[in-house]
């Protein structure tokens, strides 16, 4: 285990007769994608710093079924959902936090009818609540005064009307939050939703992630903040396409906070 990460699994906790405050649903990206794993670790560092008793499902976690459902495969989705629900209900999970808006939306909105009823929060909301309750304090640190624009993930914003938590966190860093012309409910998709992440786009005259990256670059940011591992990938690719990787970074809100604390 890397020296400062404490990541118990539900099984390990249960063996010690403990129940965590919250289950951290890592998701497939957060578990396997090299870029998204950094987000996962950043979030864990904050959880450790704030002494939040949490656990992950580890090898018992499986895809929520979101890409299958949005690709039209309702069978596969419901099979995934019911397996995950069985596991989580067995551990008597009450509260779930996740850094992936797709997992967040699916577990929050589509699992209850199938027997999985939990309180589900996105990591930006969770971090906000840690701040509000005084369990975590943050200072701007290296991000003080930096121009940061926030890209609304569709499945956090329009799909679930969460627009403020990520913005509040950016402002807590004493950064200069600049809005894109298309933001909040009018935010433009990064191009990854609805299982598009996993296929080539249909024929057109531009890639959606390039169009969205242009929106972001118009605000002349130093950092593009994201709250979704897929958006992160799409915008990072967009920045490379625009050959701006020297001057603009794409970072998750959790990374901003962890880095500001030098965690």
């Amino acid at each position: 285990m890397s020296e400062n990460l404490v990541v118990p699994t539900m099984a390990e906790m249960m063996a010690q007769g403990q129940t965590p405050e919250v289950l951290f649903w890592v998701g497939c990206s957060g578990s396997f994608d090299d870029r998204a794993k950094k987000i996962t670790k950043a979030f864990v560092k904050i959880l450790n710093k704030a002494k939040v008793p949490f656990a992950v499902l580890g090898t018992e976690e499986s895809c929520t079924g979101d890409p299958a459902k949005r690709a039209g495969n309702e069978f596969l989705f419901q099979m995934q959902a019911m397996m995950n629900i069985e596991v989580m209900n067995a551990y008597e999970v009450k509260k779930i936090v996740t850094a992936c808006p797709h997992c967040f939306n699916t577990i929050k909105n589509e699992y209850p009818e199938l027997g999985g009823k939990y309180e589900v929060v996105h990591h930006t909301e969770f971090l906000k609540s840690l701040l509000d309750s005084g369990r975590l304090t943050i200072e701007g640190g290296q991000f003080k005064g930096k121009r940061i624009t926030f890209h609304d993930p569709c499945y956090l914003g329009r799909a679930n009307n969460i627009y403020e938590a990520p913005r509040d966190l950016i402002q807590k860093l004493d950064a200069e939050l600049v809005e894109m012309k298309r933001s909040r409910a009018n935010g433009l998709c990064c191009g990854a939703g609805g299982a598009q992440m996993f296929k080539e786009p249909e024929k057109g005259n531009k890639d959606i992630n390039v169009e969205r990256t242009e929106d972001a670059l118009e605000t002349q940011p130093e950092i593009i903040a994201a709250g979704c591992p897929f958006c992160n990938t799409m915008l990072t690719d967009g920045i490379k396409h625009k050959e701006k990787e020297g001057s603009v970074q794409v970072m998750d809100i959790a990374e901003l906070i962890a880095n500001a604390q030098d965690l």
Binding site: T9, G30, D33, P67, E110, R158, E202
Partner: protein
């Protein structure tokens, strides 16, 4: 002979309204071809949606200038019905300005109000016509708008121009006649209507009494005939939203936009599959039951709210102008999804009309003949179209239902997605990683 106008009037009105009623019945029958879905829960929230979104046009105001113009047209349209009511009473009983005597000063206020709104509506109509034809706003000139849809939209705006012109012709000439003591309303003076007291003398002053009387009748009959023509044109146009926006907002999905419905037919199968006590050789409970079709390939597979959506769409194109796929040149246009659904539904309806009310298979379907898989697979499910629609239409739900058909009935997903689905099934992740490696990240530097 003096009753002749009254008789003609009654015939025109009854035939006009009757013809419209017949088409309304067809619309209701066609909408009922859709699958059942319960949208009557939480009535409080539904009435509130209808009040705010249909009546109050709340969602229009995200784009303030067109919203104000549209609101002027809408308000004028509603308030003018009072004048229409008077026309109907006058028409039946041979009276003239029936409400004036009893309402007195309030009548002057009311008609003045109608005139001011009509003037605003005239401005709005001209603005809308120039937006479509001179400014050539991109969303009004997309591929699906070529031909009939563009003509349709212009025709409606021209009808509105004619309607307003009739109102001012009627009131203006009557004003001049009244000042000469020759109006069918007894006495001499001015009606003091806000616009026509000035417009009347300016346009029609100095005309002969005979010409004024003819023009006054032209305005009066013109207004009535235009309303009846408009009413009956509605069915053939894209303009049904003036009525259907109300039920459409009432029956709209109240769930968070990210929540897609879970197919119940699938739930039953999956539960059976995961039940260790299930008998795999058990006879089905109802062997004669028609097996459920997963997803939608034609309009009858969609639910009735989706079909209501299709009739309600007025082709404004806000969905398409906000669709990331369309913005970047893909074939998908959410507006076209709605237009295609409506066109196919109309085709199915006509088929039924021609076959004594029974649909005879015509070897066509919404999928492929109208909407191609290429369009369906371009969607990112981002909900921008649903967010944008001023009257809560959901093109996304239709796209999803059709994807379900493609995948579950035809196994016709794009190649890469088939691989993704295999991975999810085998390793519990869209990529080819082993589920046992899921927490390796905590040990990596």
């Amino acid at each position: 002979m003096s009753f002749l106008p009254n008789i003609i009037f009654a015939i025109v009105l009854i035939v006009g309204v009757g013809f419209f009623a017949k088409n309304v019945k067809k619309i209701i029958r066609n909408i009922k071809l859709g699958q059942d879905v319960n949208r009557t829960d939480n009535a409080g929230a539904r009435w509130k949606n209808m009040a705010l979104i249909a009546l109050g046009q709340k969602k229009m105001f995200t784009r303030p200038i067109p919203a104000i113009l549209h609101f002027a047209l809408y308000a004028a349209f509603i308030i003018t019905q009072i004048e229409l009511l008077e026309i109907i009473i006058d028409g039946f009983f041979g009276t003239h300005r029936f409400f004036k005597e009893s309402l007195g000063g309030f009548y002057t206020f009311l008609i003045s109000f109608i005139e001011i709104l009509s003037l605003l509506a005239l401005t709005a109509t001209i603005a809308f016509l120039s937006r479509r034809n001179l400014l050539k706003l991109p969303r009004f000139n997309k591929a699906e708008m070529l031909g009939w849809p563009t003509k349709d939209a212009n025709l409606i705006l021209i009808m509105e121009l004619v309607l307003v012109t009739c109102i001012f012709t009627m009131n203006g000439t009557d004003e001049v006649l009244y000042s000469l003591g020759k109006s069918h309303f007894e006495g001499t003076g001015s009606f003091n209507f806000a616009v026509s007291q000035h417009l009347g003398p300016a346009l029609f002053g100095g005309m002969s009494e005979g010409a004024l009387h003819i023009l006054e009748r032209v305005g009066w009959w013109g207004h009535l005939l235009m309303v009846i023509a408009f009413l009956n044109y509605l069915y053939f146009s894209k303009h049904l939203h003036i009525i259907l926006a109300f039920p459409n907002t009432f029956f709209a999905d109240l769930n968070p936009k990210g929540k897609f419905d879970n197919l119940e037919s699938v739930t039953n199968e999956v539960k059976l599959m995961m039940d260790p006590n299930a008998d795999p050789f058990a006879a089905p409970a109802n062997p004669d039951a028609v097996p459920a079709k997963f997803g939608a390939s034609d309009v009858q597979d969609l639910n009735w709210v989706q079909l209501l959506n299709a009739y309600t769409c007025t082709e404004c194109g806000r969905c398409t102008s906000s669709c990331p796929a369309n913005i970047t040149g893909k074939k998908l246009s959410p507006r076209k999804i709605m237009m295609d659904t409506r066109d196919r539904l109309e085709e199915v309806g006509k088929n039924m009309d021609a076959n004594k009310g029974v649909f005879v298979p015509d070897n066509k379907s919404l999928l492929n003949d109208y909407i191609t898989p290429e369009e369906l697979w371009a969607c990112t499910s981002c909900n921008a179209c649903v967010e944008e629609c001023p009257i809560n239409i959901s093109p996304l739900s239709i796209i999803m239902d059709m994807r379900r058909y493609l995948v579950m009935e035809q196994s016709a997903a794009p190649m890469e997605l088939n691989a993704v689905m295999t991975n999810i099934e085998n390793n519990g992740a869209p990529w080819q990683y082993n589920q046992q490696d899921r927490v390796n990240w905590r040990n990596e530097e």
